[in-house]
Amino acid sequence: MDVSGANLQLDSFEELATPLFDQLYNFAHWLTQNRDEAEDLVQETYVKALKGFSSFQLGTNFRAWIYRILRNTFLTSRKGRKVTMTVPLDLDEEEESPEPAIERDTPETLLLARSSHELMQKALDELPVHFREILLLCEVEEMSYQEISETLSVPIGTVMSRLSRARQTLRNQLRPQVHQEAGQRIDRGTNHGL
């Protein structure tokens, strides 16, 4: 490639990649759960993305492309390999059938909405990584099902069923903590009354 072509390519890469820096870092930190490892992961992602940018087709989805690089880099890392080894063996089987509709407890949900960020962050931290990543891509990155499908390299049907199970698992993890918080509030109210 000539000099102007290389500069044009670098310009295009910068234009597309720079605005995603903070988001990629946030996602990397959620995956690795460690600042140093997240920095390494982001750095390696940018190096790989820049090297492979000539194979990226301008006009297609850059965000899904670079998130896919980050995720694949994570999965081949020491921690990523360890995490994938702990994924339930029946994950793929489960994904064959969509999750049935869930009953929602409205008062509990209203309480959940008021509960602290720490409660939710802790619950997200404790989720298996395949549930955590899909929730983050959907809710934080606000990716469409199509983008998530491209990022995770899975069919849209799998995106839908995995999202549904991720939400259900999150609710299940939050429920005892929410009940505990409700109990504490009642106790505080009683004490206050006395």
Binding site: D40, V47, L136, V140
Partner: protein, 249 residues
Amino acid sequence: MVCESWKAKVDTYVDGEVPEEEIASLDSHVRNCSSCSADALSCVQLKRAIQVAGKRFTPSVEFRKRMHRRMAPKPRRSFRLGWILAAAAAVVLVAGSLTSTYLGNRSGTDQIFSEIADLHVATLASSSPVDVISTDRHTVKPWFQGRIAFAFNLPELQNSEFSLLGGRMTYLEQTPGAHLIYDVRKHHISVFMFQERSLPARLSDSALQQGKLSFNMETWSQGGLRYFVIGDASVADIDRLAKLFKTAS
């Protein structure tokens, strides 16, 4: 609409992913069914809570600066210089057609050398440079079993100045390989091994000195494997470690 049918779609509905032709009927249902509107509200609240809690980590100032320096564009050449370069490039293109095969191989080779240098630097800069930490070759070598599709021998280092720090899996052009890190007088040297047939470019055995890569490097092929020894240690040290590997293989 039956509520059961709605309930199966509530996630898709709040995610804004239901097909366009179904939106009107779902909207109408949720407005008229208190149970389903509570479901939708619950879903939206969960989405919002995840969204807020999920925006949790921000890169440090140091890391941001480091990445910015790395990504910063090279100084631009002037417009006029650009034309001169374009003319020069045209000349090079004509000349290049005569030696395209040679240049093609050369470019592939340079890219591989450059990637090897990147792998070496990125690994040493990492907070966890090795996956298996041991100075014992009988611990490090078995660690690679089942992780890569080839076997290799590690040299005996007794009576040498080199010490083994550990190893890790690595990838070069999508090809898995072994990466070992050695220490000699506080200099770190990387030794990479890949299956020769899996590498995209044909490489010749060579030794490259500082100036071209900022590192000294030696590469050779032996027993179907391509070896790379790279580091900022002296040419003599790189060569000594390479010879130990050649003898062990």
